[in-house]
Structures are given as C-alpha cells and as structure tokens.
Symmetry: C2
Subunit: 343 residues, 2 copies
Amino acid sequence: MTARNRQWLLKSRPAHALSLEHFAYREQAFQAPHLDAGQVLVRNLAFSCAPTIRNWMNAADRSYRAPIGIGEPIFGPACAQVVRSEHPRFAPGSLLIGVSRWEDYSVIEPDQAFAPVLSVPEGMMPTDALGLYGLNSLTAYFGLLKIGRPQPGETVVISAAAGAVGSMVVQLAKLNGCRAIGIAGGRQKCTWLLQACRADGAIDYKSDDVAAALTGLAPHGVNVFFDNVGGELLQILVEHMAVHGRIVVCGQVSAYDSDLPAPGPRDMMRVVYGRLSIQGFVLGDFLDEADAARADLVRWFGEGKLQRHEDVRAGFDVLPTAFLELFSGGNRGALLVTIAAGA
Amino acid sequence: MTARNRQWLLKSRPAHALSLEHFAYREQAFQAPHLDAGQVLVRNLAFSCAPTIRNWMNAADRSYRAPIGIGEPIFGPACAQVVRSEHPRFAPGSLLIGVSRWEDYSVIEPDQAFAPVLSVPEGMMPTDALGLYGLNSLTAYFGLLKIGRPQPGETVVISAAAGAVGSMVVQLAKLNGCRAIGIAGGRQKCTWLLQACRADGAIDYKSDDVAAALTGLAPHGVNVFFDNVGGELLQILVEHMAVHGRIVVCGQVSAYDSDLPAPGPRDMMRVVYGRLSIQGFVLGDFLDEADAARADLVRWFGEGKLQRHEDVRAGFDVLPTAFLELFSGGNRGALLVTIAAGA
C-alpha cells in the first residue's frame, strides 16, 4: 500500500480563540504499519466537527487525559473503513465510528480508546452513522434519558441547543412528552429551533435577558437542564431550577476556547434547598446499551418522530475552516466533513 | 395559664461573624393564644444547637425561605411537649421534635413548617429524641444512605466530621463497611474522631495540607463526600473524587458566617470526566421513612454499633453562648441545651 496520507496537525496550543494559524497541513506517502494485537488500521471517510475537540487541544491538566500533542494529527470523531485488523470485533471492509485522527489513514485501538469505538450496522450510510445515529446523538440519548430522566410534562432546557448534541436533545425531549426550551446564539438559530426542531421556546443568549426569558417560559421552574455550555448560563439556570431539578453536565463549551475553567454554581445552598442534582457523564459508560439506543433512534426516524439536521461539507481541505464555524456561531445541527469517496 | 415566657430574640442581622451582641433577651408574661386548626402550642424542653440556625439569620435571598425576623425569637430544633393541640397527630402531653423557637412556649404548625415535625416515640428521652435519634442523626442517615449510597469497601469523606451530623455520618459509614475519613478543625477533634468515632482517618483542615492528606488517605479517590462545609474544602474534594463519585451536599457552614455564598466546583469538566454527581437534599423529603430510620438507629445503638456523642448543657440563659461554640470550634458531637425540668 503506497497511498498518500494527508494530515491536519496541531501546530500550536491555542491559549484563547482558535484560528487557522493553530493548524498545519502535511502530506506524506503512507507506510502501512505493523499492527499489534487489538489494533485496527482504518481509512477515514468522514469526520464530525464536535466542540469537544477544542477541549482536547488544551493542556493535559485541563482535559483530564493526554491532550493532542503539538505536531500530531487532530483527534476527531470519524466514520472509517477497516483496512486491516488485529481486533476480533472489527473485520476488514466493515465500517466503524469512533475518535480517529484528521488524516486519511489511522491506527486505532478500540479497547484503549478514550471514547467509544462502535461498529456500524450493515447498510447504514457513513454520514448517518456519524451524524443522525452517531456519537453526538448517542450522547444526547443517554444524557437526557438516563441521567436527566425527564417525565412527560416536565420542562427541559438545553444550552447550545442548535448544536449536534443539543438539537437532538430538543427532539428527544419533545418525543418524551416534555416542554423543550433551547438556548442558542442568534435569532436565526432560535427560529430554526422553533421551526425545524419544534422547540416550545427558544432563548437567544446574545440578545435576550436569559433570566427574564426563563421566568417567562418556565414559570414553574426547570426540571431538567442539559448543559453543553456551562459558565454564566449554568449559574443562571441553577437559580431557575424547580425543586428536585436535574442538571445534566455534558460539556462546558464556554470554557474550551479560554484558559480558564468553567466554574459551577455560585451558591451551593441553592443546590441544598432546591434538592438539585448535578451530574456529569460520558458516553463511554453506556457502551453496552449503544446498539439498543441506535435501534431506538433508527425506529423513531423511520416513524417520522426525529428529523435529520446535518450540514455535510466535502473535502479534506475544509476540515479546519468547518471546525472553526462551531465557534463563530454559524452551525446548526451536526456538521460533517466527508474526505473520501463512498462516505 | 399565666406562666413566664423567656425568649432569645435576633437583635440584629449578623453580616459576618456572629457574637452575643446579635441576641437580645426578653421575658414576658405568657398569654395563652387562640389556636387555629393545624396549630400546636408546645412547651419547649430542650434545644439542639445546629449550624444551620446561623444560616436562617441571613437575609431571605440567601436562605431560600423567610429568615428569622429582627426582634423575633431565634428558630431552632427542639424537643417540646404538647400543651394544647388543634392538630390530629399531636396529642396534649406527648413529645415532638421539630424546629421551634428559642422561648418557653411556642405555637408551631407541623404541616406548614419548613422542617419536619416528628412525634417522639413513647419512652424515648427528650435529649435522645433531640440528639442521638434527632433531626441531625436523621439528616446523616438519609444523606449518607439514600443520597450517597455507599457500598462496602468504599471510601467516605465527611467535612465538619466532629459535628452532630458529621460524627453520625462517620459512624454510619463505618457501620456500612466503608472507610471513613473525617475532616475537622484542630488536633483534639481529629483525635476524638479516630478514637471515639472509630474513623479510619482524620484531617485537621486548620494545620494539615488537606489535598496531600487526601492523596495519602484515599489514594484511589473518594467515592462519597458528605459535605457540611463547602467552599475551599468542596473544591479540593472535587479534585480527589473517584470516577462515579457522589458528593452529598448537606450544608455549607463555611458560608453561613459570611456575606458571600459558598461557590461550587472551580472546573465543571472535572464533574464531566469524573462522572461525578453533586446532590443537595433536605430531611423534609424523607418524612415517610423517618420512623423506620429511627428504628434502625435505636436498634444499632442497642447492639453497640453506634455511640452516643453529645454535650448537654442546662439553662435557658446559656443558649447563645452554647450556640456560639459551634463557630469557635470547641464542639464535638451534638450540642444540646435543656431549658426545663423533665428534659
């Protein structure tokens, strides 16, 4: 095998806002590597632009795991085809999804990976496997249904609601009989949440008074807050939770593009008197249930209860610019980039 | 009835440290009041000095409920005897525990009270009903066993461990097969935790490096943190929790004596990656189970599995000075003040 291997590398560690200068492009002849037991050589077909990638660019003490090294290819969720395999669960020719690298060919170790690696069911399109039924949607599914445990009639508020995870949470909340209120940046996203995602309310954190809007939209308090953003929004939400409210902590995007972490509630006595629970989770804890969850999502989509919301770009070259759109505010739903024919 | 009614009133609202100047003494002839349906006239027999009383002295926006009004008798947990009753569950002559007022005679409304009012089982001593089997012990019981859910072999850390709630949590953690590590202020309290409460470890937050001590005593992380204190201790503990650790938020004593609230974790991504849960609770949510819990405590005490740790003072006059000892650091276990013969 003497193919080319294109790569997007982390050129330098961003201290604040990410920009194109933090990425470096490299192209090399691809040398087929020796595989140890448990390793899989894959050809990456498509990548998902997930905000958490930005977090992996920060230093290790922030991200709780080895960060992306300077000069290394960027980590990112991908759909990939198995080229060679020393892992019993992943056969050559089959598709998988998991965190891979921004390059054509990668060696991954499913049992050692810090995020789940899942086989793609027969017949599922790579972009569906990565988007509609991908890690973002599974994160929404488990975070809302297993951690948030919303009951019909309850009010669910979602931050970064127009993103890939958030827009799926909005839909799943509606599907479970809840009132869903999305928080997003900009009128266009809010209109999209109301119309395309059928949210019951939408709050534009850039121009609305979030606290006042919450008082109006959720006068009896918020039962479940699905938090992708953290920071000031989390602090406002803590003061608007109903008694026994559940805060599901999925991500803290507000801190990824900063050198400061996102802090928790300002006044923990609110947590006591409100009997609030604040719970973090990662998708990796729910691997055993992932196939059943995807089957639910496939069924709901087939029944017309879920809409597909994705923005698919083509070309390895556009990966960094597409990723940067997550932070400049244009993105709605899943943002995917295909890099190979057949994706 | 023309008895005297002695009272300790809140003279002014403390902005920072509480002192005797914030209390005023008053003595009046007692006028037997008319009782509305649901009200009970009680004669207070003994009071429990609970740190949360300090919180009720703060302004309403801090304490989430109507605070003690200026010129009103101090609220406080008490064991009291029913004098007259317009409530079907509380018969004249019987004993109850609940939040009453620092005075001889009080009218309480069990169904409207912001904290539980419980009948005292026949034959139980007033000081036992208020201390060993009282609201503090029930708070420890439900907070640890229902919210923290410790498994045998897990490590439980308790802040304000030498207090009435904390020392009971230490004992209940041991009784459930856990390693119990108490955090308290001063060598004497730490020695007491190790010897009298049989803690597996004790950390003196006033002179030890808490983070280093935790690393030594809980090298695999803390599974359950029972937090009575908040502030800096909570922030340190968040960084020492084991994966899937549970933080039970019972109180935030560090903030009661201050005009600033106690904030939550510094970095919420710790909560995500550690899959931590942070849950507040109040005893009032567990009223239906209170009798069963007291039966457990009575049985465990009878079997020698629980020790009684209480400091009983006598005299209405000493109430404020006894209460102030909670904050000056001398107290170990429950601190009770009897004010009437028969208590």
